[in-house]
């Protein structure tokens, strides 16, 4: 199972700001190893962020997103103590879901 994400959820006025770091190789499939064989593509394809049962962001990613991806955005609403859930799925079917509390 992949390493946990590092999520920061903070209330900024009447909005919640999300900053998240994900641990993932995001291998492009363009590189070759020392023997000359192509290193297969391995990257996060879908990211979903949810709050209070609602999806606040849904993303489709390709391997051009940088390794150990960083994502930041804001949504209206949220209160201190609320939970925010972030989930990703990669092209191998590996998944990761992590939760953070709005501070």
């Amino acid at each position: 199972m992949a390493d946990p994400m590092k999520i920061r959820a903070t209330l900024v006025g009447d909005s919640t700001e999300i900053k998240v770091l994900m641990s993932h190789e995001m291998e492009t499939g363009q590189r070759k190893d020392a023997q000359g064989a192509v290193i297969p593509a391995w990257f996060i394809q879908n990211v979903t962020v949810a709050h209070g049962g609602t999806t606040v962001l849904a993303a489709q990613w390709g391997p051009a997103v940088a390794k150990n991806p960083f994502l930041s955005f804001k949504f209206k609403g949220g209160a201190k103590g609320d939970k925010v859930t972030i989930a990703w799925v990669d092209n191998r079917g590996d998944k990761r879901t992590d939760e953070a509390t709005i501070a």
Binding site: A2, D3, K6, L21, K67, F70
Partner: protein, 267 residues
């Protein structure tokens, strides 16, 4: 063309070149600034904290009783006073050699296993040392560097490190001083800090370890020295060797007084 007009044009050309040069420098500065928000090093810090607290090895014990110089289990501020002489080992140790010591003595892990993978490579070959270094150094962020050379063995390490810094050898007759002994030197777009001056020494030492974007990994000071040796075409600098500790001692002590600000993020 009148001399005055010609001088004016020449001045304009020089000014334009200077502006072009400056805008590149500014551009790079903006890139580095934009990177600060969201440092993947935090992923290593989290993993390192887990490794510090997890009972591991044949003895199934955590590293929480490891003495990094400020007492057993004290992590806060520990990096800022390393390298340091440790009586129980009767030698000067930097953070990495001290971590290996604790893994061997407390957890019962063999020295070979503890030193096995100092520099990680991707998710399949993660380095525990790098994660532990990320965690321990993060607990010194904001602390002023205060490395002591009071003990004779500490001073000896400092002097050896100093000699190594100025020693020229290898097929290119390089020394550390070749790249890091003067102002305003650079390799392509990478400015080289002048480590013989206090500002350069302070800024360089207090920003390692760092997440190196080009490596996609969190790299430690042992890695930085190892890579410098590689770039100078020197023989490999053995991980945790006295040579590596001596150089680290020299550079760390020269940074005394500066505020430690790592793990950082670099290109």
């Amino acid at each position: 063309m009148t001399p005055r007009l010609f001088a004016g044009l020449a001045g304009a050309v020089v000014a334009f070149a200077a502006v072009a040069q400056n805008s590149t420098v500014d551009g790079i500065a903006k890139y580095r600034e934009a990177l600060q928000d969201g440092n993947p090093a935090e992923l290593w810090e989290a993993r390192g904290e887990g490794l510090w607290k997890e009972p591991r090895g044949p003895n199934k014990v955590s590293l929480e009783r490891c003495d990094l110089g400020l007492g057993a289990g004290v992590v806060k501020g520990a990096y800022a006073q390393l390298p340091k002489y440790f009586a129980d080992a009767d030698r000067v140790m930097d953070l990495e050699t001290r971590l290996v010591w604790c893994m061997v003595k407390l957890q019962g892990i063999s020295e070979a296993d503890a030193k096995k993978n100092p520099f990680g490579n991707g998710n399949d070959k993660k380095s525990n040392i790098e994660a532990l270094v990320a965690y321990v150094t993060s607990e010194s962020r904001g602390v002023k560097m205060n490395v002591s050379v009071a003990h004779p063995k500490e001073m000896q390490m400092y002097r050896v490190g100093e000699k190594m810094f100025y020693f020229r050898g290898g097929p290119h007759d390089f020394g550390c001083v070749t790249c890091h002994g003067a102002d305003n030197q650079r390799i392509r777009l990478q400015d080289l800090p002048n480590l013989t001056k206090i500002e350069g020494a302070q800024k360089a030492y207090t920003t390692w370890p760092a997440y190196r974007v080009s490596q996609g990994e969190l790299r430690t000071f042992q890695w930085r020295l190892n890579d410098c040796f590689r770039q100078q075409r020197f023989p490999e600098l053995e991980f945790g060797s006295d040579a590596s500790i001596a150089l680290t001692m020299f550079l760390a002590k020269n940074a005394n007084g500066a505020t430690f600000d790592a793990p950082a993020i670099k290109r």
